[in-house]
Subunit: 225 residues, 2 copies
């Protein structure tokens, strides 16, 4: 936050905007904020590194120093997405009844609500082509989200599941259900079902229906063969 009042060097300094310095100070955060804005407005497909830099008020090559390349920036933002999703899951769980079935429903509903409320962000989080899946922060954040689901499911099976219930296939089934539903919904594949209802409202009602049916399936005996 320094004012530039010194003598002018040989090169004409173009940054006339008052209050701006050569060093941004918090470019990393500014870029992430710009990315969020951009994704919200235009979707993942129209995201552009240069436009992102433009909105943050820096040159087109500035992001490279903080994120390496475009993939780096999107990876960082995707990690933030998983963190927010975990936060939402915890909030939903805290507000739900403490029985295992309600807790499991809370996690599933949080998954769906997050997806609907953050369409582009959610889509980015599962677009391997734009991300670096090996990034430690991303892995950790994704793992944390999965862990929420895993714990809720384990508790559910302990309480309602059959004695010989195997965790893995049921975990997989639950994840597939919420993820598939979210994906199809966001890709406008369910518009015929949804009719006039808003996506958020539909994710609520249809989501609850599905989670109910799902729970029924989970309570039955072990899968065949």
């Amino acid at each position: 936050m320094k004012r530039r009042n010194r003598r002018v060097p040989k090169k004409p300094a173009r940054r006339a905007r008052a209050g701006e310095t050569y060093h941004h100070g918090a470019l990393r955060e500014a870029l992430l904020a710009a990315a969020e804005e951009l994704l919200l407005e235009q979707g993942v497909e129209h995201f552009t590194l240069r436009e992102c830099a433009r909105r943050a008020g820096v040159s087109h090559a500035a992001p490279a120093h903080h994120f390496g390349d475009a993939r780096g920036l999107l990876t960082a933002f995707a990690a933030i997405g998983f963190e927010r999703m975990v936060a939402l899951m915890r909030r939903y769980r805290a507000q739900a009844p403490s029985d295992a079935a309600a807790q499991l429903r809370a996690v599933g509903q949080a998954y769906l609500d997050f997806a609907v409320a953050n369409r582009a962000h959610f889509q980015l989080m599962f677009r391997s082509d734009r991300l670096d899946r090996e990034n430690p922060e991303l892995k950790a954040a994704g793992q944390a989200a999965f862990e929420e689901l895993r714990q809720a499911m384990a508790a559910f099976l302990r309480e309602h599941g059959p004695a010989d219930a195997d965790l893995s296939p049921r975990l997989l089934l639950a994840w597939s259900v919420v993820h598939g539903f979210a994906t199809l919904l966001l890709e406008s594949q369910l518009d015929a079902f949804r009719a006039k209802r808003s996506m958020a409202a539909y994710a609520r009602t249809a989501g609850a229906d599905m989670l109910g049916l799902l729970a029924a399936g989970l309570m039955t005996a072990a899968p065949p063969e």
Copy 2:
């Protein structure tokens, strides 16, 4: 530049198939074939109109006349994908026992097997940003695939479902399961589960498990309010 004396001779012996264009013979088909090759090799993310034209042996602007733009070409290819998927579903159904449960499993397994065997193609089919969802051929082909699932599910419910079974939520659940599982698998999100097994093998075994659990849920009473 090279002059085209190669074209001087009269009609070069070309395919007797009477059909469309004559300049290239069948540029439309050649471009679709090139697209398939490209997608198979490099994935949706690296698909390029120019590279596609290059492989078909024509100039970079040639595709425009047949498909309008890149989206047009990909849309046409996605439609083909749905058609092939329907064909696979029918083949699986024909080979399966005729009872409703086996028929439903066959459709689900066909969905999964198609996805695994045609990764990029499948991903393209559900990537709205690269497609024109309003395209009539695409809509029809997609609808046909959905119809396979719908019929199998209706028959299943008639035979095994509870009396008051509502079709829509159960259809949605089934679609979400197979689609979510396929999506997660193809995005390498299930590698920890899959361990060393091949994707195809895993789609078989884990898919069968899930479809079994799913069927159990579908046979229960109506979902809670």
